[in-house]
Symmetry: C2
Subunit: 271 residues, 2 copies
Amino acid sequence: MEPDPRMYVHGRTVREAERLAYQASGLAHILHHDTRYPAGSQVLEAACGIGAQTVILAKNSPEAEFVAVDISPESLLQAERKAAHEGCANITFRTADVYDLPFGPGSFDHVFVCFLLEHLDDPLLALHRLKTVLRPGGTITVIEGDHGSALFYPDSLDAHRVIRCLIDIQREMGGNSLIGRELWHLLNEAGFSYVQVSPRLVYADAGHPESIEKVKNIFIAMVEGVREEARSRGMVTGPEWEKGIRDLYRTTENGGTFAYTFFKAVGVQGE
Amino acid sequence: MEPDPRMYVHGRTVREAERLAYQASGLAHILHHDTRYPAGSQVLEAACGIGAQTVILAKNSPEAEFVAVDISPESLLQAERKAAHEGCANITFRTADVYDLPFGPGSFDHVFVCFLLEHLDDPLLALHRLKTVLRPGGTITVIEGDHGSALFYPDSLDAHRVIRCLIDIQREMGGNSLIGRELWHLLNEAGFSYVQVSPRLVYADAGHPESIEKVKNIFIAMVEGVREEARSRGMVTGPEWEKGIRDLYRTTENGGTFAYTFFKAVGVQGE
């Protein structure tokens, strides 16, 4: 069975919206500080969701013009409200499917994609479509995580088991949460030039209290989001689930450490 | 049976000496650029081995005085030759066991340790001993890898199996090659103050040819070093070993990527 293209492994709940907003602001500097677009440039953000990254992008490049699209009208509504609330006047929102973009060839100077490819069954096709709407010489920026990069102390097989539930459920829905390490391959395969990949490791220990909150509110909250799905599929027992989540929280306490790596790639359309 | 304290999982062969020298020079900037000691300060490098890091340290702080110790007289001889060859006059070499240091309390202004704790059966005791020879207000700098951080594309269970051989053999010899993530805990537990841990991720793709050579000559060569041991213990079959190593090399070719994270920690002796 084909997964519903509008399905989203993390769900579209209020808690998930809060998690996404926190994720975007908590990681804004490390992920977005080096993305700035010139005045007057036309930028497409594909799959903006609830606008968590969009407002950061738009504020960092206040004189660029953004078109932010998403497949979910409900998410777009939230994104529009968020942009209005933050006073961002340089964003136009529009419903669109990344596989079937309503824009002509070369419509944009730049394309930006964050945490999208991991949810797609054909990320290479998406990159081809995005390349088409990009003008020659324009850039694509892609940011993705990689759940295989999660490294923590104390190490725990139970914690790895609950993370594995998220990875497996996402894969069954057609996605790939281990995609960060593949960005180099995917962008080159899609025909982008001058591809540059830069990994961004986020590390937390008690000496970095703000990073500990990120681990809890972004990563562990994301894993907790598939609890019902994992239980109903019989991937884990209730006690196994509870133990795995407890062990993840244990890494944020009392001598614990946690590391996670995001991958940011930039490529150019044309030779 | 207690492992021989002079055993070294990677062996003391010519090839290993070459690998260590390459490792030190290839990673010099990322690991050592932010370690500089003031003129006149007395610095102990514990477990200098063949002096691969020692000469880098001594050149980066030409007016500091280094005492470099190791348990192996054969390694020290190589280290002395290397230092002479590189024209480093600010290093004194001496045979010593890190658990039983021949120095009085507070003998040193700073202590430096690189790729040592991973080989010890009691890293916490070693840190306590090192703390004793450090004066109040002096610093300890510790650099360790973490083999659990190896992340690569294409991913491969066979490649993970051969890495697991190295991890398991090292653990059976009393060591712990997953120790990088524990540095925060260990330094705090040993009573150091103001502990700061900074991970250093090394990433390789075809856009970074020099990094690809590091993956081959440092990481894969290190895994290959336990081939006989892994085979003789029956941890893998011959074909499994060959396949795992081939898959590791595959990550350095044709769209492949490889990431590995080192952890650098600094702590202060005293409140």
